[in-house]
Symmetry: C2
Subunit: 438 residues, 2 copies
């Protein structure tokens, strides 16, 4: 594998500089309410879908019982619209009493009892994006302590109704306040998204020191156009963004919308593949109570999750944009392996793309590849071996690529690694080794 030396160096530095709370060494996985349920607070007309403890209990049950948790989807995140319109008499945020009658500590206990982590939402401005009480600078300490008291595990800190100055002060302050509680709380910052997401306005080195993840760009919507817009922005700006990511510090292109209404199956595979290439958080926002088996199969693809969660934590890059509207993406993985995604932006018919690993910057040698979605394997006696992949319109072909000499070695190595994870009570993962390294 022809690693770009620069990435190695930056990543080594990054590991030293990242937020030292030991959390999110791989991109976080789980479920978040926002994209699918928004600010639906009408529990009278829409009791199954309104933002309420019942919704989070439903989804916690599904994460725990339908095989999600074991694959790594272990966070359940509340987003906006959970609070009452007023703080309590001691100045603390409080959940809406009608929609969260049991309170947050009890909800967190329910979530923890099922081996999951609970995420919550606040906003550095005067109000949250939907107009609920904000966490202004003077409230940061008390809110951090409230979240810790509730045994919250993750905070999404939004930036509506705040000034540049308040963001500059508030995001680092919340980082310190969370650390000061003594409870490990993953910290996701929306700061970059409010400042255009790019240097020099954004200092990603500094951001990596104070946040575990950050939203760089616009909110995702339930449409393929939205996914394409996000993909374009992240890869057009990969020279700035890619070196910023690493264990404990991740770019977040926003939630997975797989299982909702706007993506075809091929487009769903494309979002999943490209999010794994980006080392992005895999945070679904969908209805796990009614999700189709075809969407579930994509989200629960073990090889793909293994690529997403590769312990090196390198974010991948776009290698090529062809005139044929085929684009190639690549992510280096542990043990000299890598992931390749062949993506078609065409809207006519499956395109037969011919190339060789040599033309995709792979170094001399023989390789074995595993098709992530079909499970098929292939051997290339040489990096110059020509091959053809058939790529569906708005779809992908995704490969796990490995030098032949390391293939069997990986089988043993990875088998051990996954076995270790299973034996650890904190990780509820399945052994993916058997399928990943046939």
């Amino acid at each position: 594998m022809n690693f770009v030396p620069g990435i190695f160096i930056l990543a080594s530095i990054a590991t030293v500089l990242s937020l030292d709370n030991g959390l999110m060494r791989t991109p976080p996985m789980g479920w978040m309410a926002w994209e699918r349920y928004r600010c639906d607070i009408d529990c009278v007309s829409d009791p199954k879908n309104c933002i309420s403890e019942a919704l989070f209990i439903d989804m916690a049950d599904r994460l725990a019982e339908d095989g999600w948790r074991e694959l790594g989807y272990d966070h359940i995140m509340i987003d906006d619209c959970w609070t009452a319109m007023l703080r309590d008499e001691e100045g603390r945020l409080q959940p809406d009493p009608l929609r969260f009658p049991g309170g947050m500590l009890k909800l967190a206990q329910y979530v923890h009892d099922r081996g999951l982590k609970l995420g919550i939402y606040a906003d550095i401005g005067k109000f949250t994006c939907m107009g609920y009480p904000g966490t202004t600078l003077d409230k940061i300490q008390i809110d951090a302590q409230t979240f810790a008291n509730w045994t919250i595990d993750y905070l999404k800190f939004d930036g509506c109704y705040s000034s540049t100055d308040e963001q500059e002060k508030g995001y680092p302050l919340m980082s310190k306040a969370l650390n000061a509680t003594g409870r490990p709380i993953g910290y996701s910052c929306s700061w970059p998204a409010y400042q255009g997401g790019l240097p020099p306005k954004i200092n990603y080195t500094f951001l990596g020191e104070i946040c575990n993840a950050w939203r760089n760009y616009d909110d995702i919507q339930d449409s393929w156009d939205s996914v394409l817009g996000i993909v374009d922005w992240f890869f057009n700006n990969q020279d700035h963004l890619q070196p910023a990511a690493g264990p404990g510090r991740w770019n977040d292109p926003d939630m997975l919308i797989i299982g909702n209404f706007g993506l075809s199956l091929d487009q769903s595979r494309s979002q999943m593949a490209l999010w794994a290439i980006m080392a992005a958080p895999l945070i679904m926002s969908n209805d796990l109570r009614t999700i189709s088996s075809s969407s579930r199969n994509i989200l629960q693809n073990k090889v793909l999750i293994g690529i997403s969660q590769d312990p090196l934590g390198f974010q991948g890059r776009r290698l090529l944009k062809e005139k044929s509207q085929i684009e190639i993406f690549w992510r280096p993985l542990s043990h000299a392996a890598s992931a390749l995604v062949f993506f078609s932006r065409r809207s006519d018919m499956p395109y037969r793309y011919q190339t060789s690993l040599a033309r995709l910057n792979y170094t001399t040698g023989s390789y074995k590849v595993l098709d992530v979605f079909t499970g098929e394997t292939a051997s290339f006696p040489s990096h110059t071996t020509e091959f053809t992949v058939s790529i569906n319109p708005s779809g992908v072909v995704m490969w796990y690529v490995c030098p032949t000499s390391r293939w069997m070695h990986h089988e043993k190595e990875e088998g051990r690694r996954w076995k270790n994870r299973i034996s650890s009570p904190k990780h509820h993962r399945l052994n993916t080794g058997s399928r990943m390294f046939l």
Copy 2:
């Protein structure tokens, strides 16, 4: 039902003026190669998908064996790229000898033996769109006769590489030439699509006298954006287009792409619902050998096909565009019934839309409705009864609506009508009455 009187009058005139070959009294249904298979002529690398007699035999088998024909999908249409690059020594078009070794007469026989009709493609210009031999003015008569000799049942006559003048002469000339063969051949004209599709450049009254259907606008592509663009154009121009349609003369917004790669399930339901509202040809372009059951269920929805094929043949209209991005479409049907489509252009979450039939121009009375996709029924004691429908992002809710007083009557009426069709060997339709009129 509050019919718009103007529509009645125009439709009555139209019936008199439409092409008098007795064909396509309801919008044609079937399968066409273009959108899914384009000009793939590489039968060496891609033998299952190249334009060849094997492809049409495969699809004819599927239409005949998988329940399509019985529902009305009885046309199988060849598009561009079927000919040899040269005419034969007598000046006749001939199929590519390697890809159609059995010849067209034999293929037509195969298709007819399975109770299907065969469509073919030609172009009024010097070349077809993909550069194959065109049917210039001097070749119209011989090509019409060749098609009749081959026992062809339908002709799509394209307009690439032709002048406005050649179109003005050629499209009527082909109509006469087809009639002169004595064989009933459905005639689809691409003329309007080459002239902007609108009056005064297009005279739809005249077009209805010479063509059974016509393409008004751009080719469909395998994307939701393409479907939306087509829907917008047709309904933005409904005042010109809607009165042009009627039995034997149809606007054609192009093929159904359901079952391919670019549409979600909700978007697939939306295309099917809106095409039925438009009284559009239901011509699939997909792979019937591998189509998913969920796509098949949408395309084979009997109530929906019944609406599409309503014998009155009124094209529907967009009634409303709400600020909430909900749009309402309506089509009047036989026996005082009608179809309603509630369509969401949102990309966030299901939208709860509240209205009443009265606000959708329905006249005083009580109504029963049947949800086309769920099969559920509901009764409205009054046209002013308020109701709420939940519409998915990029999805539809589609209703068959009937005055309560006619509901039982319809059950008998429609039962008889469908029964008659079944007893006729020319129609291979199932009795949809039982489900449509619960």
